[in-house]
Amino acid sequence: MSTPIIEFRNVSKWYGEGDNKTEVLSNINLKIEEGEFLAIVGFTGSGKTTLVNMMTGLVSPSEGEVLYRGEPITGPAPERGIIFQNYSLLPWFTVYQNVALAVNEIYPDWPKDKRDEHIRKFIEMVNLTPASEKRPKELSGGMKQRTSIARVLATDPDLLLMDEPLGALDALTRGNLQEEILKIWSANRRTAVLITNDVDEGIFMADRIIPLEPGEKSGLGPEYKIELARPRNKKALNTDPHFKKVRTSILNYLVQLGEAAKLERNQDLALPDLEPIQPGTRSFGWLRRAS
């Protein structure tokens, strides 16, 4: 078996020390193979962003190691391109300039017109050519995310990371962009990792889906292979028995864990040892005296 693109070896991550220590992720072991589309689903606050940031190199693990093609990750690099949840476009640049910033950095040796052509090609790919001279402020959420996608894809990353890329969009735009991302992805079949809180989105887009346990000290749940032929059709999917089965089992797993976590929390709650103040036993006498 070839070296996986990304490998997590017994990775744990916590913030703070001592009493303030909050362990976000605990004992993560994960291998991401070349060319696959992996989705990681989980509730908010289960450490999804921390997980993906360890793949980019923006966050380093507290324990264990994260390997990229067999080498430990020491910092961010453009070959692991990321689409951020909040777009992270630079507001003082136009769509074209935002993409150009990335392209100029990755291909400094290219002649100017080749870079220009490259930038325009990717803006066209996400259907933003008419808006290429607009600034992020003038764009809708979907258009912003398209820009962000064009910016990442234009750098031709070896691994495409997506941190809830469609989380802030409405359902319609979301559906359209899911299909567009899949279309672009299937053109060259790079390895892709999608972080999402939407199980349907994960199943629709990915080859393999792994739930992340909710709450603190999250670990990875059992993996689910999605054996659906591509290109997938969203409408047909709703009645597909395999889709339904996977969806139900993932949801059951997550809900069950969520309930368990809630119960656990309830048991931990100790009631404060306080006696209620009886009316009339204490008063603001000093106030009255003063007046």
Binding site: T56, L58, G75, P76, A77, P78, R80, G81, I82, F84, N86, S88, L90, P91, W92, L101, A102, E105, I106, R135, K137, T155
Partner: protein, 362 residues
């Protein structure tokens, strides 16, 4: 988008406003504008009224005390004479107090007339010395320059020149230092006590400090250092807002933007010029706007003390002069100072808006 295509046709009057949105918008805006203009005008009239009343009151108090003094010192007959003299409005016995609005208007036209006389004088002087100056220039000698009294308008331009130089000094000191200390937390800590201690120091003390230094540095040269002293003092007094704002703007760049720079592995130069500085520009310009206001405000006090020409020394000279229209001239200067300060702030506001990707806060 589906809303516009499938919206039911509204009633006729409503659909009319739909077709004429600009017109109806203007109609809604116009009364608002008229209202605020009306309120402004009314408050101005109220201001003039209060001014007039208090000037009259102070005039009467001053006149009464004058008559009483003559009464106790020289007797009733002289007091009657003084009373008549004051009532006639003669300059020799005019009570000297807060001038009324009409006196201020009169003084301003006097100042303008004075400016015209001096300008004519200057032009005549220039014509007279043109030939001599050409000769002297050919011989490599210093030119003969006009050394007469500057007019009020000349003083305004001198002040503007001083404040411009002071502002540039502040800009070239505060912005680079602000960027550098904004980028490095240790430097920020190192500079913090310095900023905190020197920021509240009064303009007067800065002037004295600058005076000490410039005096020593210009030993032996006979040039007039008062302009330099006042410009540098203005710069040092006013640069703090820009320094603090620049360092805050540079140090508090949104983490998302920095993440983009990190993932793309931008070099340090690109990171500063493409990510950090554009993001800090709104705050830097807010600082510069405060700097201009402060510079203009301290300028008057500094000119007054440094004996350098300008509006400040104009005010001080008029006060020392004590002529019957001196007080009115001081009030004219006050309005001119206020109005120019307001214009400078507006100019900075428009510059701020044009360079910043965000809308500036008015």
């Amino acid at each position: 988008m589906s809303q516009t295509t499938t919206a039911p046709t509204p009633a006729k009057s409503a659909s009319l406003t739909r077709f004429l949105p600009s017109l109806s918008g203007m109609g809604a805006k116009l009364p608002g504008m008229a209202k605020s203009a009306g309120i402004t005008l009314a408050s101005m009239l109220l201001f003039l009224l209060v001014w007039q009343l208090s000037a009259t009151y102070l005039y009467n108090v001053e006149a009464k005390s004058r008559i009483d003094r003559v009464m106790t010192e020289q007797g009733a007959a002289e007091a009657e004479k003084m009373k008549a003299c004051i009532a006639s409005g003669d300059i020799s016995c005019k009570p000297n107090t807060l001038p009324s609005p009409s006196e201020v208007v009169k003084a301003s036209s006097l100042l303008l007339a004075d400016h015209r006389v001096i300008s004519a004088d200057k032009a005549a002087f220039k014509a007279k010395t043109a030939a001599v100056n050409a000769q002297r220039k050919a011989q490599g000698l210093d030119l003969i320059t006009y050394t007469g009294r500057p007019s009020f308008v000349d003083q305004i331009f001198t002040s503007l020149k001083t404040v411009a130089v002071g502002f540039l000094i502040a800009l070239f000191i505060a912005v680079p230092i602000g960027i550098i200390i904004g980028l490095n937390e240790n430097l920020r800590t190192a500079f913090n006590w310095f900023i905190q201690v020197f920021k509240p120091v009064s303009p007067v003390v800065w002037l004295l400090l600058v005076f000490m230094i410039v005096k020593t540095l210009t030993l032996g040269s006979d040039s007039d250092t008062s302009f330099l002293i006042s410009a540098v003092s203005v710069g040092l007094c006013s640069m703090w807002a820009t320094l603090v704002n620049t360092s805050v703007g540079v140090s508090s760049v949104n983490q998302d933007y920095l993440n983009v720079a990190k993932v793309l592995k931008l070099g340090i130069g690109k990171k500063i010029f493409k990510v950090i500085l554009p993001s800090a520009i709104p705050l830097i310009f807010t600082g510069l706007r405060i700097t201009v206001s402060v510079a203009w405000m301290v300028l008057i006090a500094i000119e007054l003390l440094a004996q350098s020409p300008g509006l400040g020394s104009f005010v001080w000279e008029e006060f020392q002069n004590g002529a019957n229209d001196s007080n009115a001239k001081i009030i004219v200067a006050m309005f001119v100072i206020g109005f120019i300060g307001f214009l400078l702030d507006r100019v900075m506001y428009y510059i701020q808006q044009s360079v910043s990707f965000e809308k500036a806060l008015a």
